[in-house]
Subunit: 202 residues, 3 copies
């Protein structure tokens, strides 16, 4: 799995950049604003996790390939936005895979730094969703994960499953795949059946 | 006082979580959004202070009890929102006590890390108010402390009083209690008499 | 140039504070909100750069003179707002000089910490523009640099020029002045002729 992890992280970063750029369509931003938003969306979650944990250097600062992954993602949205928009449903599948990977890799990184399991779960969720929260806040909107169908909650469930399975003695790779499958499954089912959490004090 | 500090910090953290969750009532957020907002409100100020000072590990990452204090505060707003809302005036008193404690503990922590007094004052104010600023920004509103009656200014006055009294040679515990009393007094008087700062360039 | 750098940084910090305070005129904020916004605008970019790079202590925490520069800038906007507003065109020239200095000093600092050139360019741009991005986000507006005429793009061009000229073997001071001139020139021309980037997917 280690061999897969690096290309997976690069692909996930490019995917986050695409989602960031697509999110500001028709918002009146210029190319710089869109590129900046793509960048923040892609690196925001992991950077916040590492800053909170005091884990330096940040991943994308140590390895400039992440910058190029973001540039590739961004230029895809400049050059082939029509294709990306027609592929929106396919992209949602990739997004589900992406947040599953980011959640569990973030959880794992936090555990490897010696924090307690509750903290590792929070760090996993942050890795997956905080880029989007920052993106929405900069675009002057209430973060979509605070009100849309099950999204961050799927990450939360997967991260909790992962630390529970590890604590139960399951082998790391099996626990990773099982928890990732759980996140993807919850995401796909909640999109298919429009599940959502109850509104708060609604 | 050291014996009191720890339960005080936990209680203050729970109170901040309640204030965060109550702030997003009727904003269309789901349970996750409300819980997330409660969490950010509770840990935002202290985390920002520690990140700016480079003081690791962050308090709530080193001690998972703070996470449970937040969960308790959040579930109170889920289970007994009516009671909390009827207690709003009482909660404002606790809020005044809470920001007094957070301001002075934050100032003290900064001083103990060796920064200059002006910086320690800023860090004290940040500890008390930045969680709320982040909460309001995420909720897509102008931070309430930028326009409401005297709030952050009370923290500022108390933090300045604290470093001045220490510099004048007053014993730490006496200076702490006197400065805390000043913050609470300014808050209560400004609520009672609707004091507010002049609008800026109004 | 080293002799000039320190007063330049202090003056640039005061100028950023003025721009932050002027930006919240007629937004309903009180003095505290305006002062807080001035502060965040002035220290936001450099602080974010240093936090991302893990470079401690932050500049303004190590040297309290930056706090006084901000206070001077803020009280100027309180005491002589009319003069500042009449000087708005002159201030735009100083702003262009200021962002040129902050961009290149930020790029240089990142290079001196051993990061790759692409990262140093990003850090230079962040130093110059992120204070304004945070200011606008707190004021609940889409950041002005995402949609206005060429601004951050001028910083980006100057930072790229700087690392390219250094890589080509040019002496540091000459490269600095040439790149600063490029930033100021792009800014002034783009204001004069209302250049702007294409809207994104408009």
């Amino acid at each position: 799995m280690t061999d897969l992890q690096y290309p997976l992280e690069l692909a996930g970063t490019a995917a986050f950049a695409i989602s960031g750029a697509l999110a500001v369509r028709d918002k009146g931003q210029d190319w710089f604003g869109a590129g900046f938003t793509a960048f923040i969306t892609a690196i925001g979650g992991g950077s916040l996790r590492d800053i909170l944990l005091g884990s330096y250097p940040l991943v994308w600062i140590a390895d400039v390939n992440f910058i190029y992954a973001i540039l590739i993602g961004f230029f895809c949205t400049l050059l082939i936005p029509g294709i990306l928009l027609r592929l929106r449903r396919t992209l949602l599948l990739f997004d589900a895979l992406g947040i599953a990977a980011f959640t569990l890799l973030g959880t794992e990184k936090a555990l490897s730094l010696g924090v307690q399991e509750e903290i590792a779960v929070i760090m996993g969720v942050f890795s997956a969703v905080m880029g989007g929260v920052i993106r929405d806040t900069l675009a002057n909107e209430m973060p979509v994960i605070f009100r849309r169908e099950i999204y961050a909650t799927a990450c939360l469930a997967g991260a909790i499953a992962y630390v529970a399975l590890l604590a139960a003695g399951m082998e790391r790779q099996v626990a990773f795949l099982a928890s990732a499958a759980l996140i993807v499954l919850i995401r796909l089912l909640s999109m298919r059946f429009h599940w959502s959490l109850p509104r708060f004090l609604g």
